[in-house]
Symmetry: C2
Subunit: 265 residues, 2 copies
């Protein structure tokens, strides 16, 4: 239990190569992935008496998978959670990120790269959105938040367990490798020269695409945008100065999804 | 100063018909709107010595507009702010919402309606996104969060001062009036029968459109979706169960913006 509690710290996660999964939705997604062949993904499950009554289905799946189920009091559970409302259930899971080479070997058609994204809630929201838009993978570069941060896992609403996630790749290496693998790398930037709708109209989104999203406050570095094939702005039709990161990512990824659909992906 | 501090409470805002505007970006947008004809919008400006040095431009605009500028210590300023980092500057502004009739008289082409949206950050983010997508107005129904809540004002990043906002309209009245004014009302719902991309392909987004977005957790009520012209889902291509409210709103509003642009709005 103390070992699990330490996983709220990035360094402890890194050492154990395990992280906390909080709340029934995320735990269900983790157990489902475990059952789907990613054996031993979930190692422990901590539940309060109330949660045990509320989620007999989860408990059954856990027992079938020989996951160790540990009953805890609400106070103990709260002490091991990073989010405010873990809803009585926290699991310990093994790291499940994969290498960029492995992702690229699968000939992905849509990849989202988060470069220097620092807010875990934003990172998790973009992960969820990338999943919804049918992306084949999400890459978090070395200067981004830890994808195993509790707030990120929570904001991803289970999507961390739905699509391959790559972490700890140097930003310039990520862009270079995506391009070498035949993806068109598009940097999303408010001041970009290319309008997203124009690009879609011109058929510029139909091929394999890697979207590059930058920091919430300062966006993408010039060094990184210079490596991209194009720098694309979501058009601002009104008087807002910009869009927030998750909204912009949603609009870009869904523009790609629509273009891929129209071209019989 | 005590009067300003009370404006962190909804009831006090309602009584005074004034609210707090926190941070230089939002204050600049308020002063700009004041200068653009909405006279007496900003009534007071509280600034710390550091903020006064950092924003001489804002101070000059305020003085030109005969806004009362009150120097305060950082501690006093923090005590009157709702957000964590007001960055040394807080203004008091008069309510600026308008009636739905007034908005409809302007023959709007794109309106976003927030029904039972409870999180102020979400409401502000959608407001910002509606502004960016070129919406003509945003409507918050009676069961939604107060648009003058500090977190909502902050999340709107100035957009509260960029486009007309309507509040305190009964949800069913809002939908009925939008339809009577000739707008096609589209309810955004995860399980909706109509796919957003299909609708766009079929030309269903080219006319005047009112988008209806519901509560973060439970979506729109059946009573409300029954009143809409169509119930539309953002397609889920991957395995995510749903999108979060702000992302879904962004994708829908930008789909409308693109359709309007393509039809020479």
């Amino acid at each position: 239990m103390a070992a699990a509690r330490r996983l709220t710290q990035r360094s402890a996660r890194q050492q154990a190569r395990r992280f906390l999964v909080e709340g029934p939705q995320a735990v269900a997604a983790a157990l489902e992935l475990g059952a789907a062949g990613h054996a031993d993904l979930v190692t422990e499950l901590f539940v309060t008496p109330a949660a045990r009554e509320r989620h007999p289905d989860l408990l059954a799946v856990a027992r079938n998978a020989a996951v160790s189920v540990v009953p805890v009091t609400p106070a103990v559970l709260a002490s091991m959670a990073e989010t405010v409302t873990p809803q009585g259930i926290v699991a310990v899971a093994r790291f499940l990120d994969v290498g960029l080479e492995q992702v690229l070997a699968g000939q992905p058609r849509l990849v989202a790269v988060l470069a220097a994204v620092r807010d875990p809630g934003n990172a998790g929201t973009v992960l969820r959105c990338a999943d919804a838009a049918g992306a084949d993978a999400v890459v978090l570069t070395t200067d981004s938040v830890d994808v195993y941060n509790g707030k990120c896992v929570r904001a991803s609403a289970g999507s961390l367990f739905h699509l391959p996630v790559v972490r700890s790749v140097e930003p310039t290496v990520a862009v270079t490798q995506l391009r070498q693998a035949g993806l068109r790398v598009l940097a999303a930037a408010g001041g970009g020269p290319t309008d997203l709708d124009d690009l879609a109209d011109a058929g510029g989104l139909t091929g394999p695409t890697g979207w590059l999203f930058g920091n919430e406050a300062w966006g993408l570095s010039g060094r990184l945008t210079a490596l991209a094939d194009d720098v694309v702005r979501v058009p601002i039709h009104g008087r807002a100065e910009s869009l927030n990161l998750a909204t912009a990512a949603g609009v870009c990824l869904y523009a790609s999804a629509r273009a891929h659909r129209d071209h019989g992906r």
